[in-house]
């Protein structure tokens, strides 16, 4: 029988290979050996070290790459440093031209990039050709635009400087674009390390960029493994690290950069929920699962890996999902008729197998469709684990493979609870045809990105990034630009002088009528509470006269305060108008007692009466500022290519710890607390350690200003000690700490437990009396995470 006749009878698909001739020729041109790309040229590793990179589908060696050692990284950073001044000095338009050229260059060589990427990574050519490469080009176009309008849109910011970027192997070229495009657009220069498994498209890009006329030193690529990454992370002349990869490595980077003053963005792992309600388009949702977990072999940080299906439709849903799995095709990455390609490396394959094995041992029911699998190479079949309990390792750990785990829920509330019950918070997908339900759930999910009736949608115009242990920072959109900028207003901050410690000069009383003794307790959950340890510390005037005593808060007081703050979750959903009203009311009540507060400030700090009054007036004004912002710090509606809207919603971090600076005890307190609570955070505040009485006097103002219990909690005592507990507390979402450089280091280091957001000053004091540096969106932006909710629509 002829081959046509056989196909006619069987109606099977047959092979449909994409040619790799051009890709192989490119490798051949380079003799399958690559150096680093530093200062505009390919150079070998200083040490001569090399490592191999392989083709996952066959195991064959693709090329030899240079191992980046210290000398290489130094050279790359020096080149970037040298280029940065000139690059930043270029007009926005000039940089826009470069970015535009890069976008066009990507489009002209789109197929070559796509084929090399598929070979190197193992992902299907469909994905590199139709998704990764077009999106990468789009990122350069989009950010060419930000360069063009930078001078007006970011007039009060300057570039961060030299940026070290470390990217993962799952989207090698796309992640390069996400990192490089905004960095270059906004005037930074780059030292980028691609993942050791997948460096080739980065090297090709470097070659293309040079051809496109990108100046030497602006973009440097250093290849290598984890050690090379560590050299970049630790490098003293790098101003910022942008990392995408595992939460484990993200933690290490946070710890190693603590106190260095390096700005940091981390885009880490996830265990993203995929929630299907009984009023969903079930077939649409089943197809959504394909795009969620069998996209890029499930090696996607935001993969919808936890299916949560409403009980009433669970059987039907699973039946249809299993049927759909039968028509998935797994094959060589360059086959144009497949849904899934190869797992990136044998080590990843064995990790997947191990985790699935543990899941089964813990009671999960394994389902793998009986479909044809390649006989050799690094492949894993599409897999569904059902009957998974939340306690199972496969329900909590990121598998990073084509494995969906499935659970059921009964009510929307339970769906939200199960979805949020994770250490991660990257993405979520919600399927329901009822707009009220879908948006309600989208708003409640702890995730940086939510897709309604869709999944894995990405675009340069919309920010991407996580909450919680999925990291911090955003990539894409206006919110992503700020990650590569720093405020002009903070450029000339001066190192803070250590506060003078006053010495007690005992004096005895006389026989006149004494003032009634006042006990300043702690303020927790809306009540004044005695410190757990029942110790007090004296507050002295500059003359050494006791002004009063405050409680010596300890770790248990912090624990109680955090619990109270966590319980006050209603504040986050209170109307912005309501929050504004309360901030104004606080200002009103403070104003009524301004003389008393000014006297207190003067007595504690020794500043002149005029300066003390000015501090109180500035505090009142600052409260008004945040009262004003409370209902005006709005999100945006992004315009990605979508028939629908993408809502960029600023959401409060949650529970924030605040270590007030020692100076200006009232204004420092207000300057940090007001922006946080204006946008819905609850705070646990440690007031100025030497001058805490301005804060303790404030209790009664909070009590009379309708501030709900638990929104503001105040624990007096040692900044350093209390900061330790706050920074390490895994139910605290953010810590703002102002004081010594050591305090900053400590807070950043201890924040790794739950990767909380930190905002510290490295001992360089902001001039709190200068409104341009000390209030407004600079602070509000740090008090929120932007959640992007994608809402495609149409009937």
């Amino acid at each position: 029988m002829s081959s046509v006749a056989e196909y006619f009878d069987e109606m099977s698909y047959g092979p449909a290979p994409e040619a790799d001739t051009e890709a192989r020729a490119w490798l051949e041109r380079h003799k399958s050996t690559f150096g680093h790309f530093i200062n505009g040229a390919f150079i070998p590793s200083a040490s001569g070290g090399q490592f191999d990179t392989f083709e996952p589908a066959t195991g064959a060696r693709l090329a030899k790459l240079a191992v980046g050692d210290r000398a290489d990284v130094d050279k790359a950073v020096a080149a970037a440093r040298k280029a940065q001044t000139s690059w930043a000095k270029l007009s926005g338009h000039a940089r826009a031209r470069h970015l535009y050229a890069l976008a066009r260059m990507i489009q002209r060589h789109a197929r070559l990039i796509a084929v090399i990427e598929a070979l190197d990574n193992g992902k299907p050519i469909r994905e590199t050709r139709d998704i990764d490469v077009p999106l990468a080009a789009r990122h350069f176009y989009h950010h060419a635009g930000w360069a063009q309008i930078q001078e007006t849109e970011f007039a009060d910011h300057v570039p961060v400087g030299v940026v070290g970027q470390i990217i993962p192997w799952n989207f090698p070229f796309l992640m390069l674009a996400w990192k490089v495009a905004p960095a270059l657009a906004l005037g930074n220069t780059v030292v980028l390390k691609p993942a050791e498994f997948t460096s080739l498209t980065a090297l090709l890009f470097a070659e293309l960029a040079a051809m496109a006329g990108l100046p030497a030193g602006v973009l440097n690529i250093v290849t290598g493994e984890g050690e090379t990454g560590a050299l970049i992370v630790d490098h003293a002349d790098i101003d910022k690290i942008a990392f995408t990869g595992s939460t484990e490595v993200g933690r290490i980077i946070r710890e190693r950069t603590a106190g260095s003053g390096k700005s940091l963005t981390l885009e880490l792992g996830g265990k993203s929920p995929f929630i299907v309600f009984d009023d969903a388009d079930i077939d649409g949702a089943v197809e959504g699962v394909v795009d969620a977990i069998w996209f890029n072999q499930g090696q996607v940080c935001c993969a919808g890996s936890r299916l949560l299906v409403q009980e009433g439709i669970a059987d039907l849903f699973h039946e249809r999902l299993k049927r759909r799995m039968l028509t998935l095709r797994v094959g060589p990455p360059l086959d144009k008729c497949i849904d899934m390609g190869a797992i990136v490396a044998p080590v990843q394959l064995s990790r997947i197998k191990t985790l699935v094995g543990k899941g089964i041992a813990e009671g999960a029911v394994l389902h793998q469709a009986e479909i044809e699998m390649p006989k050799s190479g690094s492949f894993y079949p599409p897999t569904l684990l059902s009957n998974v309990q939340p306690t199972s390792i496969v329900a909590t750990e990121e598998i990073f493979g084509p494995v969906a785990v499935s659970m059921t829920f009964r009510t929307p509330e339970e769906a939200i609870q199960l979805a949020n019950h994770t250490r991660y918070g990257l993405a979520a997908s919600v399927w329901s045809e009822t707009i009220g339900l879908a948006l309600h759930v989208a708003a409640k999910l702890a995730a940086g990105v939510v897709w309604v009736n869709a999944t894995n949608l990405f675009d340069a115009a919309a920010g991407f990034g996580g909450k919680r242990e999925s990291g911090f920072g955003r990539e894409g959109g206006r919110e992503g630009c700020f990650e590569y900028l720093k405020p002009k207003a903070w450029l000339n901050r001066k190192p803070r002088n250590a506060p003078v410690e006053f010495q007690l000069k005992p004096v005895t009383g006389d026989f006149s009528l004494s003032a009634i003794d006042r006990t300043a307790k702690l303020f927790i959950g809306g009540k004044q509470a005695r410190p757990d340890g029942n110790y007090s510390r004296s507050v002295l005037s500059p003359e050494g006269k006791p002004l009063g005593e405050v409680g010596e808060g300890n770790r248990k007081d912090i624990r109680n305060a955090v619990a109270a703050a966590r319980a006050a979750s209603g504040w986050a959903t209170a109307t912005a108008h309501n929050r504004a009203q309360i901030l104004y009311y606080i200002a009103e009540n403070l104003s009524g007692r301004s003389t008393e507060f000014a006297e207190r400030i003067g007595a504690m700090t020794g500043v002149s009466a005029a300066n003390a009054r000015a501090e109180v007036e500035a505090s009142i004004s600052r409260l008004f500022t945040y009262g004003a912002w409370a209902d005006k710090y709005e999100g945006a509606i992004h315009t990605p290519p979508l028939r629908g809207v993408t809502l960029a919603i600023p959401e409060p971090n949650g529970v924030a710890g605040v270590i007030c600076p020692p100076e200006v005890p009232l204004l420092g307190f207000i300057s940090l607390v007001a922006p946080l609570i204006a946008v819905g955070n609850r705070v646990v505040v440690v007031p100025s350690e030497p001058y805490p009485l301005a804060a303790t006097d404030f209790y009664s103002i909070l009590e009379t200003s309708d501030v709900p219990a638990g929104v503001v909690n105040i624990v007096t005592g040692s900044s350093t000690e209390l900061a330790k507990t706050l920074a390490a507390h895994n139910d605290v979402d953010a810590v703002w700490a102002f004081g010594t450089p050591e305090l900053s280091t400590q807070v950043e280091k201890l924040s790794v437990g739950n990767l909380k957001r930190t905002f510290v000053d490295y001992g360089k004091a902001i001039d709190w009396m200068d409104a341009s540096a000390a209030e407004g969106v600079l602070f509000l932006r740090r008090a929120v995470d932007v959640k992007n909710i994608w809402i495609p629509y149409g009937e």
Binding site: D281, G284, A454, E795
Partner: protein, 341 residues
């Protein structure tokens, strides 16, 4: 109902070799069921999710070389070769019938190694007036004649006349009747009326198979398409069909996706397989392959054969012929190298 149907399921006959038999009797006929309105009304369709599925399909599936030739040849066997024009004449219809019997040049079939297979189109589709002529022209070919009926294309003639029209076509020898539904029933949510109407048509067809044309371009929303699909199947449609070819928008991959999923849901619930016919707008080989991919991936291998899949088309065949000749010779072909239909 599922078990009753599955008893009758038998392995798929080798296609092509059975082209001489009427091609609509390989699976038990859908007997219909009571109207289950809640099922129809509870069905949800998300537009964007559907769009994404059909947008990514051509990147996920393709066939090359011999496989492509085979798939295109299979498509030929599924074509309802159609002429539905005001200027149709008996002679025009006879010419079409001749093409239906020899849709692809014998030398091309020989070169493909398919010379011993009987490759014909799935049916010839004409207005009632030409049914008798077509039946005569197709005598002994085994190719069924399909008649469009019930006041095609608007479907707004009196109901009793529509039923009479069906009966007349069946009497003239039509083995398949393509009816048009009253769009008003869908647009006003009068599902009971749609169900009754469809039941009457099915009854009037007797042993002739009935294809329900939904006129999806008039129904506008996928929700309407999904509901109308289900109600027509409940009323006993053997096929559901997108369009008359006369609406502003005819067959699209997107409405196809929705209708296929309804067919799948109907089989899931009743065990009966209902056929699918996209019509209008499928004019290139590249187009039809995407429909075939969707049939195979959403419904399964069985739905690639003419007893469950028909394509209403007039100019598609000519493009397929060119592609097949290209496959054989390696040189791009021209329309005038293939006999006109």
């Amino acid at each position: 109902m599922r078990s009753a149907a599955s008893e009758n399921v038998r392995t798929l006959p080798a296609a092509g070799s059975t082209a001489a038999e009427p091609q609509t009797n390989h699976w038990p006929r859908n007997p219909g069921m009571d109207l289950d309105l809640s099922w129809a009304l509870d069905t949800r369709v998300n537009l964007s999710a559907g769009e994404r599925r059909v947008a990514t399909l051509p990147g996920r599936r393709t066939v090359k070389k011999d496989a492509q030739a085979a798939w295109l040849l299979k498509a030929v066997t599924c074509i309802d070769l159609t002429t539905l024009n005001g200027d149709d004449t008996t002679e025009r219809v006879k010419r079409l019938c001749a093409k239906a019997m020899s849709p692809v040049r014998q030398d091309i079939l020989d070169a493909l190694g398919m010379g011993d297979r009987r490759i014909t189109t799935g049916a010839v589709c004409v207005y009632h007036r030409f049914v008798a002529a077509a039946v005569e022209a197709l005598q002994h070919s085994g190719i069924p004649v399909a008649a469009v009926s019930t006041g095609f294309p608007a479907g707004l003639t009196p109901h009793h006349l529509k039923v009479k029209e069906i009966e007349a076509s069946v009497a003239d020898g039509a083995k398949e009747i393509d009816i048009v539904i009253t769009r008003e029933h869908v647009l006003t949510g009068n599902w009971q009326a749609l169900y009754e109407e469809m039941k009457d048509y099915r009854a009037a067809c007797g042993s002739a198979h009935v294809k329900a044309i939904l006129a999806t371009g008039d129904l506008k929303t996928l929700r309407n398409v999904a509901r109308a699909s289900l109600v027509c199947m409940m009323a006993g449609a053997d096929f559901i069909k997108t369009s008359t070819g006369k609406e502003g928008v005819n067959a699209t991959l997107l409405v196809t996706l929705v209708m296929l999923r309804m067919i799948r849901a109907y089989e899931e619930r009743t065990g009966f397989k209902v056929g699918y016919k996209p019509a209008g707008g499928i004019s290139t080989a590249k187009d039809v392959l995407n429909y075939q991919f969707l049939m195979k991936d959403e419904l399964g291998r069985e739905w690639l054969e003419p007893d469950l899949f028909r394509i209403g088309a007039s100019s598609l065949l000519a493009d397929i012929e060119r592609q097949l000749e290209h496959h054989v010779t390696g040189a791009y072909s021209a329309f005038n190298r293939h006999p006109i239909g």
